[in-house]
């Protein structure tokens, strides 16, 4: 049964009326879509549109609401799909973390899954020589050059991604051969290009096209319009949990894609960013009476960040918006000195430090606070009590006449629990026993103890429930009202629209433009962010529209 005999491009996967709600929040609302055999289908949409929920439904991680149907190769399958059944059905997933063992060799990583797929009964001795030869042949068949003996962690990021994709495709191929299944395989790639340099993405794209040409189907989840345009045949756009468009890629322009993702066109925007932004106003000297700017960044570079300059003013909430992989996720740590930048200067309320030499100690000396994104790893210590997390930075205040005053610490911590609405209000509880929202309040409270001049928030409300979220907003507003400058970095554009006085748009490591009240809205931010990421040729700080058009023309030419 060779695959070539099947001529009609049947549907490899079909979803009908899939819904999924989390409490009152409807993450997927009656989603129906079809994936054709041998095609690359891109799943596009902004953050929170339901893309990741959809992938998790496919992977069997979430059970959708009753009433939905999933068809694989024309046959209805029971939902949720048990993860161990996925492979049988022909579904393979490559997530952002790739799932490779970094300390093992390429050939080991490649064959581990294939061995379980191909030789469930035959337990023979491994012939490594043969495995290596076979790995080389496999790579050659995909036109990829990877050394089978290299350790995975030594590979370039792009090669790691290639390896993960090839492994998934090969597993499917072997599995299909063994079961003589007529189902085609479906490869789900979740944001494979996010952290790859643009120049290396091309390798990935050609691999994806090659995989699809073996009549497998590929579902590509991405933010990256360039990537979608390069490899996808069809595009499905999700917006607010619904399918807002399903179309052939060739028939849409960039402009239209953005419109599908964001919703209505925001006419005002083009003028706001196209040059009408009074740049002079930004650079206009502040009145002498004003407080010094708490943060000035000039020509910051390093990692994915390229020559970024901006100023944060006292009492201001400044948002930084960018897609994952745009470099925006590096700012908080470069500014705080926990991950070194390679160039530029950071001026913290008069203390000017070369970005290379920034350290958390220096940042804290200028009363800089950082609420990091990974709360469990970087924010607070779950195995220690709330009170110790809360007052870590000001322990010295409670060290009186040679003794750490534990009763005073308990008293202050109890007060803070009440002030910040931390539940349960018990300072002796371990931080890890608190809900995400309450733990985040503890982290914020910890930093507010030093009376910060600069508050850097990175994805501060991820995993924070709605009630705690509004508490958190209030607390930050209060801190800003007292004169702190707040730098808010998140991919939740709704949040930026609610909270920020100004929003800087970041794409490809550069600042592309700025939105100010009253032009700030979720849609405006989204649109600019997608434009910024799609227009590689644009210079920072201006001429966005022209750059965008250049990108569009290229798209139409393709």
């Amino acid at each position: 049964m060779s695959e070539a005999t099947i001529e009609v491009p049947e549907l490899a996967l079909e979803l009908r009326h899939i819904s999924k709600s989390f409490g009152a929040n409807l993450a997927l609302d009656d989603v129906s879509l079809a994936v054709r055999r041998g095609e690359v289908t891109a799943l596009l949409g902004q953050n929170g549109c339901g893309k990741s929920t959809l992938v998790k439904v496919l992977a069997g991680f979430h059970a959708p609401e009753p009433g939905g149907e999933m068809l694989v190769g024309g046959q209805v399958v029971d939902l949720p799909v048990p993860p161990e059944r996925s492979r049988e059905l022909g579904l393979s997933f490559v997530f952002q973390d790739l799932g490779l063992a970094p300390g093992l060799s390429v050939v080991e990583n490649l064959t581990i899954g294939m061995r379980t797929a191909a030789s469930l009964k035959g337990r023979r001795v491994i012939n490594w020589k043969q495995e290596r030869r076979r790995a080389r042949e496999t790579f050659a068949s995909y036109h990829v050059a990877i050394d089978p003996d290299a350790e995975v962690q030594e590979l370039a990021p792009v090669d790691q991604a290639l390896l993960a994709i090839i492994r998934a495709a090969e597993e499917q191929r072997l599995f299909r051969g063994r079961t003589a299944s007529r189902r085609s395989s479906i490869l789900v790639l979740d944001e494979p290009t996010v952290f790859l340099p643009a120049s290396e993405c091309e390798l990935l794209f050609s691999l994806i096209r090659r995989v699809a040409s073996t009549s497998a189907s590929v579902i590509l989840i991405s933010h990256d319009l360039e990537a979608v345009r390069e490899v996808a045949d069809r595009v499905v756009v999700l917006r607010d949990g619904r399918v807002s468009a399903e179309t052939d890629v060739a028939s849409v322009t960039h402009e239209e894609l953005i419109e599908m993702i964001v919703g209505r066109r925001t006419e005002k925007l083009a003028t706001a960013v196209g040059g009408d932004v009074p740049r002079a106003e930004l650079d206009r000297p502040r009145p002498a009476t004003a407080v010094a700017d708490p943060l000035r960044v000039s020509h910051l570079s390093g990692g994915r960040v390229v020559d970024v300059s901006f100023t944060l003013r006292a009492g201001e909430v400044l948002g930084l918006a960018g897609l994952l992989g745009s470099g925006v996720e590096e700012f908080p740590y470069q500014l705080f000195g926990s991950r070194p930048a390679s160039g530029g200067t950071i001026d913290l309320a008069g203390l000017s430090v070369p970005a290379k030499r920034m350290t958390p100690q220096l940042a804290m000396k200028s009363r800089t606070a950082l609420v990091p994104a990974d709360r469990a790893r970087d924010g607070g210590v779950g195995t220690l009590p709330v009170e110790e997390n809360l007052l870590l930075l000001v322990e010295d205040r409670y060290f009186i006449r040679g003794i750490r005053r534990r009763r005073a610490i308990r008293r202050t911590a109890t007060e803070r629990c009440a002030e910040f609405g931390i539940r349960p209000p018990s300072p002796e509880a371990l931080l890890s026993s608190l809900s995400g929202g309450n733990a985040q309040k503890v982290i914020l409270a910890k930093w507010l103890e030093i009376d910060p001049r600069i508050i850097i928030l990175h994805e501060p409300t991820q995993g924070v429930d709605v009630g705690a979220r509004s508490d958190f907003y209030e607390l930050v507003k209060a801190a800003a009202a007292k004169g702190a400058g707040v730098l808010w970095i998140t991919t939740d554009f709704d949040e930026l629209a609610t909270m920020c006085d100004r929003v800087l748009i970041v794409g490809n490591g550069m600042i592309f433009g700025e939105l100010r009240r009253p032009d700030i809205s979720k849609n405006a931010i989204s649109e600019l962010v997608f434009r910024a990421s799609a227009s590689l040729s644009v210079r920072p700080g201006g001429e966005l529209v022209r750059g965008f058009q250049a990108g569009e023309q290229r798209g139409e030419g393709a």
Binding site: G48, S52, Y333, S338, P360, D378, F399, E419, L430, E474
Partner: protein, 363 residues
């Protein structure tokens, strides 16, 4: 710092029934916490009572009590040494052999070279500090796995000790050392016991009553959080290796004073019991955390058990059997405690966006 942004929050006006239930469960959990904290001392008391009932003529006697409290000082001091890197989240397997090296250096200088005993002891401790700095630099500065590095340095230091001693026992050292440590007694217990208590007080004070000790806890529990809180993590870890080694050196001096001579085999046998006591102690007093008082109780609990079993006729093997079993039991217990305490009450199930793959800390 910050004013309460709005007066009563909705959740603060919880129904009285809910508050009541909360109070009940809180008082229950308080009892559970108290029980957990004092489980080890209670078990110790139980062991004492049981052995006193079984062996009324030999167990509850002044001689036996003096034996239990007076014979464990090397282990006691070494356990304090083990605590220091452990609290910082580090691991030093070479502390036992460092104690052995210190004893040997002091013994050789005093016996063979007729150096004043005080100077000889100081030289021994200096050797310990050097070993600690070497460990610290290799592990912290060059970022290597402490387990493997100190496994290596443990073996190398033991080899060094054999080398300088030509595999001989070196004695007898000046009697003034033995006098001031072992021969002189207060309430029938050698002076070194009381020195141990002073050391205990110092370690306890530092780690519970000073901000620096508090920061050490954070370094031990999460280096990332500590670093992002402006703590100089590497500096503190380096210091922990150095001071831990110096205290291990003190253990070596106590060994020398108790036995009167340096023995090249001494160091290697001491390490496991010290770790057993440190881990066992971490299940008590401040459960889930290495702590000095818990560890001190654990040392004497282990000694009591061994003494009782030996009175019942058990041979030397019982010590290893008992210590080894206690270490395993302690690890399992503390793991259970940790899992219970860190179980989240109510995790938010809010949907989050795609995971941000970012590393906050460079190294």
């Amino acid at each position: 710092m910050i004013e309460s942004p709005q007066s009563p929050r909705p959740e603060e006006q919880a129904a009285p029934g809910r508050e009541g239930r909360l109070a009940v469960s809180r008082s229950m959990s308080r009892w559970a916490t108290v029980g957990e904290r004092f489980a080890l001392p209670l078990v110790w008391v139980a062991v004492i009572v049981v052995f006193s009932l079984i062996e009324p003529s030999s167990f509850p006697t002044v001689g036996n009590v003096a034996n239990v409290f007076g014979s464990q000082e090397v282990l006691f001091v070494l356990t304090m040494a083990v605590l220091i890197p452990s609290i910082h989240g580090d691991f030093d397997l070479s502390l036992g052999s460092i104690a052995g090296l210190t004893a040997m250096v002091a013994a050789i200088l005093n016996v063979n070279d007729h150096v004043n005993i005080l100077l000889a002891c100081l030289a021994g401790i200096a050797a310990a500090v050097v070993a600690g700095v070497v460990n610290g630099v290799i592990v912290v500065t060059f970022d290597n796995d402490p387990f493997i590095v100190t496994l290596g340095t443990m073996t190398a230091i033991t080899g060094l000790t054999y080398w300088i001693s030509h595999s001989q026992t070196i004695g007898v050292v000046s009697s003034s050392l033995t006098n001031w440590l072992f021969t002189k007694t207060v309430f029938a217990i050698p002076l070194e016991f009381y020195y141990g208590l002073v050391l205990l007080a110092v370690v306890w004070y530092f780690f519970t009553l000073t901000p620096a000790g508090q920061r050490a806890s954070f370094v031990g529990q999460s280096r990332d959080v500590a670093r992002l809180s402006g703590i100089r993590v590497n500096r503190m870890r380096l210091r922990a290796y150095t001071i831990g080694a110096a205290v291990a050196g003190l253990a070596g001096i106590v060994y020398l004073g108790t036995n009167g001579s340096g023995d090249p085999t001494a160091g290697s046998t001491l390490l496991l019991p010290a770790y057993a006591a440190a881990f066992l102690g971490a299940t008590s007093i401040r459960p889930g955390r290495f702590n000095a008082i818990g560890a001190a109780i654990a040392v004497y609990f282990l000694a009591t058990g061994v003494a009782g079993l030996q009175l019942l006729g058990a041979q030397d093997y019982v010590q290893q059997l008992f210590y080894g079993a206690a270490l395993v039991v302690a690890i399992v217990l503390s793991n259970i405690i940790r899992r219970q305490k860190t179980r989240p009450v109510a995790r938010s199930t809010a949907e989050t966006g795609p995971a941000t793959e970012t590393t906050a800390v460079a190294d």
